[in-house]
Structure formats: C-alpha cells, structure tokens
Amino acid sequence: MIETLVIFLCCAGMLLFLGGMIGILRLPDAYTRLHMAGMLDTLGLLILLLGLVLYGFLHAPMSLLVQFKILLLWGFVLVTSPTATHAMVDAGVRAGLTPWVQPDAKRRRK
C-alpha cells in the first residue's frame, strides 16, 4: 500500500518536473516561465521529497534522522521557493516589464 503511494508520489513529482521543464523552454515571456519554474520548484520538489520520506520510512526505518532532515528541508522549500518566485515577479513588475498577451486578444482590444 505504502509502496504504491511512494511510486505514485515520485512519478507525480517527476511528471511535474517534466512539465515544468517543457514550460520553461516553450512559454513566451518571463512571467509565464517564472510561473512554471515556481511550480516545478515548489510542488514538484515537495511531492518528490514526500515520496522520498515515505520510501526511507519503509526501507530504512532506523535512519529516522535523515527523514527528519528531509522534512525540515520540505518546510524550508515550502517557505522560500514561492517567496523567491514572488520576489522575481515583483522585480519584473517594478522594472516595467509588460506581460505577454495573446496576439489576437491584442487585436480584439484595438
């Protein structure tokens, strides 16, 4: 049961990483790319770390300290990674970077 959960969590994390990577490469401007990077760094990494904690719990129950350290890392990433993304987007807005709009939406507005 836990085994299945571990596999599911790790695969979900990997999938988010894959999607985020494609997004960083393909999306049109800085804001959307930062959105992808933030998603990948936060959600993907958190799910992956949760899977690792469960895996360690299952296969090496003696090394609880390592699991505890990974959980600490989890909390740290949960707080800092969205803040970093927020700071970058904030800096972009203040520097006057205009967000990308869909081309035909722009035409419609005219």
Binding site: V79, T80, A87, R94
Partner: protein, 277 residues
C-alpha cells in the same frame, strides 16, 4: 601595457599546460598518490591525528599550513577590495541624498554629501533610488535568516564528522547577511555589522588560526600541533585534537564571513558603504 599583460597571461597559461604533462593520468594506479599516500592516510591517519574524519584529518592536520594560508588569501582578498574600492570618507560624493523627517514624513533633499551626518533621531536616510520593500519578501527573510545562521554554525561545528567546515559554514553565514541587505537595505546591514566589526572579525579569524599554531610552539611542540591542547582543562589527547581543529575552523569561518560581507558591502555601494542595490 595591454600587450605585455596578454603576453604574461599566455606565457603563464602555456607553462601551466606544459606542466600538466608531468601529472599522472586520471585514476592511474602507478601514480605515487595511489601507491603510497592513499594507503598511508587510510591506515595511519586515525592513530596519527586522532580525527575520525579522514578529510578533516588531511585538511586540518596534514595540510594545516595550506588551510591557514588559504585563510590568509581570503583575508587578503577582502583587504585588497577595501584598499581599491573604498572611497575615503572626506571625499565629496555628488548626487542626491534624501532624508525623511520621521515625525511628519516630509522628505528633504540634499545635493551633495560632503559631510554625511551620523545618527540623527529626527531624520532618517532614504536611498535615492528607493523602492518600497515588499512585505512578503521582508517577512520571509526575517523568518528564514536565523535558521540560515544556525545552519551555518552547524556546518562550522560539524566539520569534524560530516562534510563542512569553516569555509562552507562561513559562506552560509555571510549569505544570511547578504539576504538581509537584499531584503531590507544596505544600511540595515551596516547598522547590524558595521565596517569596524567586519574588519576586526576578518583579522581576528586569521589571528585565531595563527594563535592555535603558536600555542603549539609555546608548549614545546611543532607549529599547528593540536596535541598541545592535551592537558588544557584536563582534556585527553583526542579531545585536544578535536578542540584544536574546532578552534581553527571557527577562525576560518570568521574570516570567510567577514571577508564576504566586506566585499559585498563595497561592491554593492560602489565603495561608499552608505547606500546601494
């Protein structure tokens, strides 16, 4: 002048590449390092240095001089930055300088700062290109910085038994101060850790390292022989070695932290250490 510099760079590079010929190839079993040295360190290092971690034994004990002079290099880098970049305090810096009256919020503008006023309770300095601080970033950094500093201390103190040591811990500790300056402003950092403190700290780290070495000589042993700490406060030989390496790591950490903070302060404020970023 430029051509001479280019010539010197090319000559040095050619010499370095030529001297690579004499190196043993990667992973060569016949090289002296694999024949005698590795086995010697693996077998003998514990009984010779009483340090359980092999890497720490090599870095702190066998290569103590190397580590000490690396610390001196970091110190010299900070000193060179200070001497090259720092503007003298009595130079008139042209530009706009803003002061806010704390009671009324009125902002006063000055066109030069031939004499920068010190601490004045009624007026508060404001950066000339001052963006209002973002509340999310400020509060997150305020929450995270103590943990980063704790982790830096952990890395310094655990240099014996796990990866880490003075250099890495010092860099982490300095990064927390850089984060403070980025999230608040440079004046907050200078207020917490002014120039006098950082300069004294960087010199004190090197002196601590030298002091541990000289203490060994004073006890009649070799320079940097941590065995000299045996018997101080009734310690055994092993804990004397441990304490010696810990003191040395603390010295390295102090120097690295202070040097990085000095370099950051100078570079981000173009040598004035008043405002920047």
């Amino acid at each position: 002048m430029k051509k001479t510099a280019l010539l010197a760079v090319i000559l040095t590079g050619a010499l370095l590449i030529l001297s690579m010929e004499n190196f043993p190839s990667w992973g060569d079993v016949q090289s002296p390092a694999s024949l005698h040295l590795s086995r010697h360190f693996i077998e003998k290092s514990y009984e010779q240095t009483l340090t359980p971690n092999l890497v720490t034994a090599v870095l702190g004990d066998y290569r103590g001089f190397d580590t000490m002079l690396e610390t001196v290099v970091v110190f010299t880098a900070a000193l060179a930055c200070f001497l090259v970049i720092r503007l003298p305090r009595d130079v008139c810096t042209p530009g706009l300088f803003y002061y806010r009256h704390t009671r009324t919020g009125l902002v006063v503008r000055k066109h030069d700062a031939c004499e920068l006023p010190g601490e004045n309770p009624t007026f508060e300095r404001v950066d000339s290109d001052w963006p209002p601080h973002d509340v999310v970033v400020v509060s997150t950094c305020r929450m995270v910085i103590p943990f980063i500093q704790l982790f830096g201390l952990y890395v310094v103190a655990h240099g014996h038994y796990s990866p880490g040591g003075g250099f890495q811990g010092g860099v982490i500790f300095a990064a927390s101060y850089v984060l403070l300056a980025v999230s608040h402003d440079l004046r907050t950092l200078v207020h917490r850790l002014n120039e006098r403190v950082t300069h004294l700290l960087s010199a004190a780290g090197v002196l601590l390292f030298f002091g541990v070495g000289l203490f060994g000589m004073a006890m009649g042993l070799n320079f940097l022989d941590y065995g000299a700490l045996e018997g101080v406060l009734g310690m055994s030989l092993a804990s004397g070695h441990s304490l010696g390496i810990l003191l040395v790591e603390i010295g390295v950490g102090m120097t690295v932290t202070a040097a990085l903070v000095i370099i950051f302060k100078l570079l981000s404020s173009r040598g004035t250490v008043t405002e920047g970023l």
